[in-house]
């Protein structure tokens, strides 16, 4: 009888820019000032969009909204490293990914205004509509990555999800398929420590989420998700690895949503004020500011200018979206099939008639 060790694994944690602004020079990615400027502006735009959306929801002009404030770095910086030929699969809190991928702010407002027209994917983008159900996008992303391998396309797939999604069977099925097929996919888990109210310790008994990748035969790494340099360096390596045909990576970004899960949620029921305040001090935007300041490319005047530009873009986008919102009975029938079947045509005609009759009655 023999007993030998058949597997031993390790999972690393990476932080390059710490909370006090110190940089690990050995790990620091070589970033041009222009890259930092673009990424910073994107992060500020995301934050302004997010705050505007929250305000609009409170005024009743949007319905449900799910804020992203606090998680901008892991989304914006990772998406910034993808090319046009690449593809993202996202979730309901991925506003930063959408903005970094080049979705118009107007389109995003239309989406969160609850219109069918908001779902339209612009013709010049290759990304897939966001998922509301948890973890469903993961196997789809793996399939998309497998297709680019089969079709010999130079396209990497990035898929975004939260800590809660890692409990769904689909997460495990997806990672397994990705591992078996060495699919060119990057799994980006934004671990914001809570699935609505449920803390991470109830989600999984394992020490990290990153280590789950080991069981599926590929690398997982845990990073400081509020550290733009760690996100940049890790994502860059994962994308290059996928592009080179060396398979998938799981990146667990430790981060925190500053706000509620959604506009219907009250986080004071499950999080302490102290915890929230500590994380606000760990704001990825502030940390990036400090880094840029040390490099001599951030100051108050720059900040005011970036902020003003972002605000203006966001305000203008909402005005345009509001002017464009329209709902028609056709909207809900038009895209169910390539060719509308008879039953839908009948239902659509019936609804149009009913809506006209109602309008007449109101007169």
């Amino acid at each position: 009888m023999t007993r030998t060790r058949v597997f031993e694994g390790k999972t690393d944690y990476i932080q390059i820019l710490d909370e006090n602004g110190n940089v690990d020079k050995a790990l620091e990615p070589q970033l041009a000032n222009e890259d930092l400027d673009v990424m910073y502006r994107l992060m500020i735009t995301v934050r302004q969009f997010d705050r505007k959306a929250m305000n609009l929801q409170r005024q009743g002009r949007l319905f449900t909204y799910l804020p992203v404030e606090g998680q901008e770095a892991s989304q914006v910086v990772s998406a910034y490293l993808l090319g046009k030929q690449d593809r993202t699969f996202t979730m309901y809190r991925s506003h930063g990914v959408f903005i970094a991928r080049g979705f118009s702010l107007k389109q995003m407002f239309l989406m969160w205004m609850g219109t069918e027209q908001g779902g339209k994917i612009p013709d010049d983008l290759n990304d897939v509509p966001l998922e509301i159900t948890i973890g469903s996008q993961l196997p789809q992303a793996v399939g998309s990555a497998m297709a680019s391998k089969i079709l010999k396309k130079d396209s990497v797939t990035a898929v975004y999800f939260g800590d809660g999604a890692t409990s769904e069977g689909e997460f495990h099925e997806a990672l397994n398929m990705a591992g078996v097929n060495r699919a060119p996919v990057v799994f980006i888990c934004e671990n914001n420590l809570y699935a609505i109210s449920v803390p991470r310790r109830i989600q999984t008994a394992s020490k990290t989420i990153a280590q789950k990748a080991l069981a599926y035969g590929f690398e997982g790494v845990q990073i400081d998700g509020n550290d733009v340099l760690a996100v940049y360096a890790t994502m860059k390596e994962a994308v290059e690895k996928a592009r080179a045909g060396e398979g998938p990576t799981l990146i667990e970004c430790l981060t925190y949503r500053f706000g509620p899960h959604s506009t219907s949620d009250d986080p004071s029921k499950y999080r302490s004020k102290e915890e929230e305040e500590a994380w606000v001090k760990n704001d990825p935007v502030l940390r990036m500011q400090r880094y840029m300041q040390a490099r001599g490319i951030w100051n108050e005047a720059y900040e005011q200018q970036v902020l003003a530009e972002a605000k203006e873009m966001v305000d203008k986008a909402f005005e345009e979206a509001e002017a464009e919102v329209h709902v028609e009975p056709e909207d809900i029938f038009k895209y169910v099939y390539a060719e509308m079947p008879e039953n839908l045509k009948q239902e659509m005609e019936y609804l149009k008639k009913v809506e006209e009759e109602k309008k007449e009655l109101k007169k």
Binding site: F63, T64, Y92, M113, G114, T115, E116, G118, G119, I132, T133, I134, G135, G164, A165, S167, E168, G169, E170, A195, I196, S197, V198, I202, Q203, T204, S264, D265, K269, Y270, V325, V327, P329, D331, I332, F333, V336, N343, L344, E347, L351, V354, E355, E357, K358, L361
Partner: protein, 329 residues
């Protein structure tokens, strides 16, 4: 039994039913995402974890299939789990466990085992929620053997039907119309009471047309019935209450009297419960019918997003139109 009454919303009534059943029966456990510390996203389970502890009121990992599968295992082992699926569109993850296993365990074990489990879920539209939050999927489960499907139409029914569901020996899907969670209050007995499963409720008597509805559609049907009354049409309004197995006897007797039927549901038209009820009317009431049975339903499309959901949801106007249609024969 005490006969004290209290004004309750549907959420209060559900909470009261859960609390009382947990007090009465130590094998009743509540499990789901956010049901413990947070008290549920709609607050249906608020206070239960404080009272009964983390063992009997469990916050679970985010895994609907695992959750329902584990509940089946618990039910096979002497517990009575009440599972909360946060929104009806999230129930599909657990489809295999519900349809292929919960509903078949009694048959499969030739009566040796049963699955006394309740799966609660908010359902239906009307609160301008996100995609997958407003589905009406009762017909999918009514189509599956071995499951019971129950839908309350108000606070009083919610409490009595939920208590009966928890005490029932078979798996019950309990769909709660979320637009009614807080929008109506009713006098509800403080003490526990049962409303039998499988019995429809004649909410209003009438001789001219039978209106059949459930869940939030009952209120729309009643509004339409009020409207046509002014024109001399007396509608009999029936709340189906249990979607499967349903009480066609009550409906059949009503159609014998009225000769006309309008069925209202929020779920899509094709293969919805309306189709089944209309077919039963053909089986049992063919010679009583003075007009074709008419359905007022959602459409065969994905439930529209928030701003367009009013296009989809049947309302009193559309029901009135259908009543006029059957009265024109």
């Amino acid at each position: 039994m005490r006969d004290e009454m209290a004004k309750m919303t549907m959420i209060d009534a559900i909470n009261s039913a859960l609390r009382q059943e947990m007090e009465r029966d130590p094998t009743v456990v509540v499990m789901g995402e956010d049901v413990g510390k947070n008290g549920g996203v709609f607050r249906a389970t608020v206070g239960l974890q404080d009272k009964f502890g983390e063992v009997r009121v469990m916050d679970t990992p985010l895994a609907e299939s695992g959750l329902v599968g584990a509940a089946i295992g618990m039910a096979l082992s002497g517990l009575r789990p009440v599972v909360e699926i946060q929104f009806s569109g999230f129930i599909y993850y657990a489809m295999d466990q519900i349809v292929s296993h919960a509903g078949r365990m009694r048959t499969r074990s030739r009566g040796r085992y049963s699955v006394p489990m309740v799966v609660r879920s908010p359902y239906g539209g009307g609160i301008r929620a996100l995609e997958h939050h407003s589905e009406s999927n009762e017909a999918m489960f009514a189509h599956s053997a071995g499951l019971k499907v129950v839908i309350p139409s108000g606070p009083y029914d919610a409490k009595g039907l939920l208590i009966s569901s928890i005490r029932d020996p078979d798996p019950v899907l309990f769909f709660e119309p979320m637009r009614l969670y807080r929008s109506v209050k009713e006098e509800v007995p403080e003490a526990a009471y049962e409303i039998p499963l499988g019995e429809a409720n004649i909410v209003r008597e009438g001789a001219d047309v039978t209106l059949i509805a459930w869940g939030s559609m009952l209120r729309q049907a009643l509004e339409a019935a009020d409207g046509v009354k002014e024109k001399g049409v007396n509608a009999e309004v029936i709340d189906l209450r249990t979607i499967s197995p349903f009480d066609f006897d009550t409906i059949s007797k009503s159609i014998e009297k009225t000769g006309r039927a309008v069925i209202v549901h929020e779920a899509p038209r094709t293969c919805g419960m309306g189709a089944e009820l209309a077919a039963r009317a053909m089986d049992h009431n063919f010679l009583n019918l003075k007009a074709p049975v008419v359905r007022v339903t959602g459409f065969d499309v994905p439930v529209p997003l928030a701003r367009e959901e009013d296009f989809y949801l049947p309302d009193a106007y559309r029901i009135t139109r259908a009543i006029n249609q059957v009265m024109s024969f």
